[in-house]
Symmetry: C2
Subunit: 159 residues, 2 copies
Amino acid sequence: MSETRWLSDDEQRMWRRYRDMNQLLELAMDRQLQRDASMSQSDYSVLVSLSEAESGGLRARDLGAALGWDRSRVSHQVRRMEGRGLVAKNECPDDGRGTIVSLTEAGAQAIASVAPKHVEKVRELFIDVLSEDEVRILTDIYERVVARIDEVDGITLPG
Amino acid sequence: MSETRWLSDDEQRMWRRYRDMNQLLELAMDRQLQRDASMSQSDYSVLVSLSEAESGGLRARDLGAALGWDRSRVSHQVRRMEGRGLVAKNECPDDGRGTIVSLTEAGAQAIASVAPKHVEKVRELFIDVLSEDEVRILTDIYERVVARIDEVDGITLPG
């Protein structure tokens, strides 16, 4: 193996700050959801995905693909949310295979109530700290990294 | 509550790309560690923290603080790594309270062997995509967001 190209001090610092920011932002967003809606980020992600689906429902496998989760994580999460009345499961009408996960009325109300506060928190902690130029620069960088990961490792997100 | 300041299209796009990139980078780094060392990112983080500690060991509580993990996660993770011979637990010599977690010889070898490949992967997927200017811009943005989260929500990382 060729000699390791270790990170320079500046690169190391950027990488650490990136990870610090991720960790702190996760924690802050978790707390907001817990405080305002007794909800986890996993709950929130499922509700957002379902509320953006055209019919308010998705096949379990498509929900998993959208969230990057494996089947057992989807099944576990959906079972818990079903128990709390936020989602419902039905057999897929098209072909009898698989399960459709849908928003219930309570799930729709929950996401409608918490989403504005969640967005406010994203804005307060992250977006408001950025200039318009920086928003563009970040988008551009993130798109390049996403493309790079696809190119090098063949890993992509659906949609 | 005042009217929600929803995100603009540009802001929304940046926020989604940021989350996409995080998810893909996590996945890619996971795969690298699994492939090259049959190791999880949690294993890797523990080994890095211990190898950076002056004596090659840390109190369990300090390890948890460094990683942002609660006591039960630290204890679970350390137990599994002890079972694989990567770390050892000893009573704290100073005051008889708490447990010191230390690198074993095998743990030190494991981290020495995988770290260069892990760093190469960070470089390949993220750092190499950036100009020097962009590294500086990102560091600056991340530091502002970290400061903001402390200011608004009082959430900080140790160290």
